[in-house]
Subunit: 192 residues, 2 copies
DNA sequence: ATAATGAATGAATGTCATTCATTTTAGTAC
DNA sequence: GTACTAAAATGAATGACATTCATTCATTAT
């Protein structure tokens, strides 16, 4: 029952390469088609347009980020450490492939067809709610709002990190963790 | 010595209107020209291209946000309150004109010609550094990194707020303030 | 006046995304 | 195998703009 469509796979892969290499506006669908060994029209049999094609690429990437936060290992972690693990998972993935960051930066070109964070934020919400239920995280905060702000924090960190490599990723990781703990941990014992 | 160029002003105003109303891709330079009572070519005498025209619009807007954080009243505030005042200034401005939010969302179309936050982040950095110098804020944190993350927080909040009006702005303001205080305030007396 | 300089103009150009009439492929029946 | 059909693939033609640039117009200097 699992769909298999080699042409679609080739198109998506070619699109990923071209979008990463040239950005949205400068990638020509004709080139993507050629790279995928397919005619231009064939792309339109799979995706309604260029923006949706980009959305397809971005969706795959967001799934990878969401998955990185959803491992048994992370869910098993107690709360003070879980923050760091979640943030690290994001930073590691982003740094593991420079394309990912530049690709995610193209999100707005898919505006109206794709909402950035739609796969990632629900994942954050799940973690928050679990933490609140266990009593480890401060209760009463709206998980949706917390997730939106937390998502923004990571975005901000990744954006700056990709531009200002003066400070290493560890600095960003430390700040993110620090911020989340000071903000969200139930008032009790933290590490100094 | 102050430059005056009525045509440029009209072009910028018309561009702001059209970008806000139709987004980047759907605004036709021909229409902007008509609204500004100017010929298309005249736009190119002022701005190298469509993207730079958008950058001009965005620059003006960012200046307004930066200015909102830079009032004597805010600089006079002691630290626990200053967080809230700064965040409120941003939310208020964003909410005061729905165009601002949608316009800022177009930032990526000016990619390569304009870096979002370039006017706002330095302003945040100044506040952070002042706070650290006074001892009110925890020392040792790199103000650049802090600013990037804080900027992301606000972006995240504004983005969600514009989409999910279920919770009022106050909820977002409260969370932002809470997060910043827990993260950045020197360990001493806070309000409970 | 007249010429010289620079700004303004908008028709012409070139570059794609998107469409769609035509061709190719794959499946089914005989 | 042959004939027929439906679905998929193709790529040339179309249309929409951004951008360019040869002309026209306005200002200032002589």
């Amino acid at each position: 029952m699992t769909e298999t469509d080699p042409r679609k796979d080739r198109i998506l892969a070619a699109a990923r390469d071209h979008f990463a290499a040239h950005g949205f506006e400068k990638t020509r669908l004709a080139d993507v088609a050629k790279a995928a060994d397919v005619a231009v029209g064939t792309i339109y049999l799979r995706y309604p347009g260029k923006a949706e094609l980009l959305a397809g690429v971005l969706g795959e990437i967001e799934d990878r980020f969401a998955a990185a936060m959803d491992t048994p290992a992370i869910w098993a972690l107690p709360w003070p450490e879980r923050f760091q693990a979640v943030f690290r998972a994001n930073l590691d993935l982003a740094l593991s492939d420079p394309d990912l960051a530049s690709l995610m930066g193209l999100a707005p070109f898919a505006m109206g067809v794709w909402r950035p964070g739609d796969r990632i934020r629900p994942m954050i919400v799940r973690h928050i709610m679990a933490g609140q239920a266990s009593g480890a995280l401060r209760p009463g905060f709206d998980p949706q709002i917390v997730a939106a702000i937390a998502y923004g924090m990571v975005e901000g960190a990744l954006g700056e990190l990709s531009v200002n490599p003066t400070a290493g990723p560890d600095q960003y990781l430390a700040q993110l963790t620090e911020a989340a703990q000071g903000w969200l941990l139930s008032r009790g014992a933290h590490a100094p």
